[in-house]
């Protein structure tokens, strides 16, 4: 504590020190701010230009909300930085913008999704669902011939000039069934032009492909014969649609079975006996996802065992890592310890590897028969590290300890070094033992600094998806149980399995779960932070 005092004295005695010169500069800048003003104008001008460009692009692609948001945010920023006063806002605005984008928007969007049925089969708008159903319903009539096609145009209306495999030439258009023509210009057995009509070349076809792809030319007056459509502009095939959409009644009719599918408000066309046509579309479903989260059998049955293990895992992870980190920090903080720089460097290493990679490496090392741990460390023992229910839980904690202690070591080292030595010296003078100093002085002071980090660490481990997923995948699973949940599954991995099993994804349910987990972790954190306030009063 002696050195800083000397420094301070020196600063007082020699007037033109660095600090005072800088203070003078700041005072001068605050007074005559023309340089600052120019800088401000240039910087804000650049930002405004960028924002304007962004807004234009957004308006053009009809992203109204985002465009208006960009303009409003830029407007507010301009007002804040050009007005006099508003000093707090000048400092807060950048942070607030980040908060808005990365926290509030994300949380709000998740909450919104939680109230929809967004997921496999309910992926887009009703319009695109109808479009997609109609596309898939177009089936080529089996064994029907392919027609050579030339697209011709007259007065802005397109017609199909087709040559059937027998060499007959016919012409037809939308609502104009095919009729034979005899004056077509032929080229190698294919009709390529017709007097009075313009023949479209490929680039003209491409330029109007949306209109052309939509053309269906009836084969005859009888709609059951099907109609000609072209997938590529050069060949036409006979298609029959297996579905018919009635726009007025908003129903889909299966032309083969006569079943009528109607929109019953569940986000899909549904037949009277409950069969749904997929794809459906996205709708809001109220609290359905939250109800399902608590009633679905695959979730309800293992919920409490999984919840318990999640708490145990999160708590023990924090506790073991903190205990180990603190112990090492105290050891390496001891002045008698030599070359601590190098030891500390090595201590950080596990922290420097990507966690998921370490988890995979550990999974290999814990292989029952060929893993390094069994083969080398246990001399060929047959320990089922990852396939026994309890050992797997232990392994998870062990690997997490390896991954997590360097962080705790770092923050404990920092916190320990910030505890003033004189407090300890005073305690020593008063006759306290080393244990008493640690327990009554160092630890409480340490907790003031690290308690918020411990809470954050708890929240992190509560959702430590990558470790569980990479190391055990939630397993081992009890094959005699009905549900796809293993012994080491925590809430978030269970949710992942429930919401994203195989090729189906249920974003609505997953979002509802993340909100439930958020409420859980949030509640615990609030309670814990309240507690730490008591600690701060120690100081």
């Amino acid at each position: 504590m002696a050195t800083p005092t000397i420094d301070r004295d020196a600063a007082v005695e020699t007037p033109p020190s660095k600090k005072s010169r800088r203070a003078a500069r700041i005072a001068e800048a605050a007074g005559a701010g023309w340089k600052l003003l120019i800088f401000k104008v240039v910087a804000l001008g650049l930002i405004d230009a960028l924002a304007l460009y962004a807004a234009l692009v957004l308006f053009q692609s009809e992203q109204w909300v985002a465009a208006i948001a960009v303009l409003v945010v830029t407007g507010v920023a301009n007002w804040v930085y050009f007005s006099r006063g508003n000093l707090p806002a000048k400092y807060l605005i950048p942070g607030l913008i980040f908060l808005l984008i990365f926290q509030i928007f994300v949380a709000g969007y998740t909450a919104y999704i939680a109230f929809t049925n967004y997921g496999t089969g309910h992926n887009g708008s009703k319009e695109s669902a109808i479009n997609s159903l109609m596309l898939s319903a177009q089936e080529r009539v089996p064994d029907s011939p392919a027609y050579e096609l030339t697209i011709v145009e007259q007065l802005g209306e397109y017609s199909f000039l087709v040559t059937n495999p027998d060499g007959d030439v016919e012409l037809g258009g939308v609502d104009r069934p095919l009729e034979p023509v005899d004056n077509a210009e032929m080229d190698g057995g294919k009709a390529v032009a017709l007097p009075g009509y313009n023949t479209l070349n490929f680039s003209q076809i491409v330029a109007n492909q949306e209109a052309i792809a939509a053309i269906a030319v009836p084969i005859s007056e009888d709609p059951n014969d099907g109609s000609l459509r072209t997938p590529d502009g050069s060949v036409a095939y006979v298609y029959l649609s297996s579905l018919e959409y009635d726009e007025a009644a908003d129903t889909m009719t299966d032309t083969r079975t006569g079943t009528v599918y109607s929109d019953v408000g569940t986000g899909a066309f549904t037949s009277p006996d409950g069969e749904e046509l997929m794809p459906g579309w996205q709708i809001t479903v109220g609290f359905d996802n939250f109800v399902r989260a608590f009633t679905e059998e695959s979730i309800r049955a293992p919920f409490f065992s999984v919840l318990t293990w999640t708490f145990v895992f999160a708590f023990l992870s924090v506790f073991t890592c903190f205990a180990m980190g603190l112990f090492l920090a105290i050891v390496f903080n001891d002045p008698r310890m030599k070359s601590k720089k190098y030891y500390r460097l090595i201590m950080i290493l596990p922290y420097a590897f990507p966690g998921f990679l370490s988890a995979l490496v550990w999974a290999g090392m814990m292989n029952q028969e060929f893993g390094y741990i069994n083969v080398v460390l246990f001399n060929g023992a047959d320990i089922p590290w990852l396939t026994n229910e309890w050992l797997a839980k232990f392994s998870i904690l062990l690997v997490n300890l390896w991954l997590g202690f360097p962080y705790m070591f770092l923050i404990c080292t920092g916190a320990l070094q910030s505890i003033p030595d004189d407090v300890q010296e005073a305690a020593k003078v008063d006759g306290a033992s080393a244990w008493q100093i640690f327990k009554s002085i160092k630890l409480p002071l340490l907790f003031v600094a690290v308690a918020p980090l411990l809470i954050a660490s708890f929240a992190y481990n509560f959702n430590n998806f990558s470790l569980i997923y990479m190391l055990t995948g939630g397993g081992p699973r009890d094959v005699t149980a009905d549900v796809n949940v293993g012994a080491t599954d925590i809430l978030i991995t269970m949710v992942y399995k429930v919401a994203f099993v195989g090729s189906t994804a249920d974003y609505g349910l997953a979002s509802a779960f993340s909100i439930i987990i958020f409420l859980l972790v949030g509640t615990i954190s609030v309670i814990a932070f309240r507690r730490t306030k008591a600690l701060e009063e120690l100081n």
Binding site: A29, L58, Q209, T230, D232, G473
Partner: protein
């Protein structure tokens, strides 16, 4: 001064970043340029890095012939499915993307793919490839490569192909190597994909078939008598039996051991051939030996290119798919970079004639069945592997009971 300057500069950076982020969120820029170029004609194709080079050449030809530009966007193969599903409904998706046929269930259920009319060209492709890319009677893509597993044999250790599973084990033991036969398994989830040929050799496919060859999700066959016989066989080959199937030998360990000459047989796909060839092994690809007496049918995975249902350039995109990606030139070029058997019959025959390893996998592939792409398959995987793992490890009790339990669990999950 310094303080203020810095905070303003920082704000500038932040505002710029946030503006860009917002633009990025909306990704309006791409859509905009796409719309502008539409009159000139442009199709956007999502393709993985390996395929991009070949497609560049095909795209150049296409543009020369038709005047339609092709915008190739490189994507990570594994991410294409989900990004396609998410982006197509917003109108920001591509016109065409590369993918695997077992994505079809997801893609069709989400309404993001459109059928591709191959027309008379459909007869030019291998039947299994067309079957794989069919869904509800419609073809949804142009296939380019077929991939299936086969039995890799180290010809220095065993000169002749085995005739049955037992014969293979006998030959493997006679070779005197550490392992008679290798297949990569997972300690927990075994590997239903690699074990499937043995399962089908007992006459137990996952699903029954419709008359048109597609899978019928209502007809779960996995728990039939053949399936139960397979379960018993698994137990007899597992930890409590001969120990040939060992769940501690992962795919990596199996490859390592095979490359080191520790086993004459390795049940795997073409992806492990380069490693073995680099190690100087003399290889042959044999048909997968039958364990249950019937034909051992592996799953075939078929890769192809498919069309977006929201594409505004369907005619041009279909033209590109059918007549360029479906051409022998492109199919052969794709085979040369990927090593997977081509799906177009003419390209397939040329590839088979030129390379005995490809011919070997191709021969096995004639027995292969498409991996089911129906969404119900997701429910199958989650019970299938762990049950096989438990049976092999002898950890769950009676194998037939476990198998029946799995079958009823799958049945319950499907409904």
């Amino acid at each position: 001064m310094k303080v203020n300057k810095r905070s303003i500069a920082a704000f500038g950076a932040i505002a710029a970043v946030s503006a860009l982020t917002l633009v990025g969120c909306a990704s309006g820029g791409d859509a905009d340029s796409g719309e502008e170029n539409e009159s000139a004609g442009e199709i956007t194709v999502w393709v993985d890095a390996d395929r991009a080079g070949v497609l560049e050449d095909a795209a150049k030809d296409f543009t020369e012939d038709t005047g339609v530009a092709v915008n190739l966007v490189q994507k990570e193969f594994g991410e294409i499915r989900d990004q396609f599903v998410q982006q197509v409904p917003t109108g920001e998706g591509p016109d065409v993307a590369v993918g695997a046929h077992d994505w079809l269930g997801t893609l069709v259920t989400n309404g993001v793919v459109a059928p591709v009319e191959l027309g008379d060209a459909s007869g030019d492709f291998e039947q299994v490839a067309i079957d794989a890319w069919s869904y509800d009677g419609q073809v949804y893509g142009v296939p380019y490569a077929i991939e299936n597993i086969g039995l890799l044999r180290n010809t220095d250790l065993v000169p002749e192909a085995p005739t049955s599973y037992d014969d293979m084990i006998a030959k493997g033991q006679a070779a005197g190597t550490e392992y008679a036969f290798l297949v990569g398994l997972d300690p927990e989830a075994a590997d239903p994909y690699h074990l499937y040929p043995f399962q089908t050799s007992f006459g137990a496919p996952v699903f029954g078939s419709n008359p048109d060859g597609s899978y019928n999700a209502g007809d779960l066959q996995i728990g039939n008598a053949g399936g139960q016989a397979f379960a018993q066989w698994l137990a007899s080959q597992g930890a409590a039996g001969t120990g040939v199937l060992n769940t501690n030998i992962s795919g990596d360990l199996a490859r390592e051991n095979f490359v080191a000459g520790k086993s004459p047989f390795f049940l795997t796909g073409p992806w492990n051939v380069p490693a073995a060839e680099e190690a100087g092994l003399n290889l042959a690809v044999d048909p997968i030996p039958s364990a249950g007496g019937q034909a051992a049918q592996p799953f075939a995975g078929v890769q192809g290119f498919f069309l977006s249902s929201e594409s505004e350039n369907k005619l041009a995109a279909t033209e590109f798919l059918v007549n360029y990606i479906g051409s022998e030139e492109v199919q052969t070029a794709l085979y040369e970079v990927g090593g997977r058997t081509p799906a177009l019959t003419s390209a397939y025959e040329a590839a088979v004639a030129a390379d005995p390893i490809t011919a070997g996998f191709g021969t096995v592939g004639t027995d292969a069945v498409p991996m089911p792409s129906i969404p119900e398959m997701g429910s199958v995987w989650q019970y299938w592997g762990v049950t096989e793992g438990a049976i092999i490890n002898g950890s769950g009790g009676d194998p037939v009971e476990l198998w029946n339990k799995m079958s009823s669990d799958i049945q319950g999950a499907i409904q």
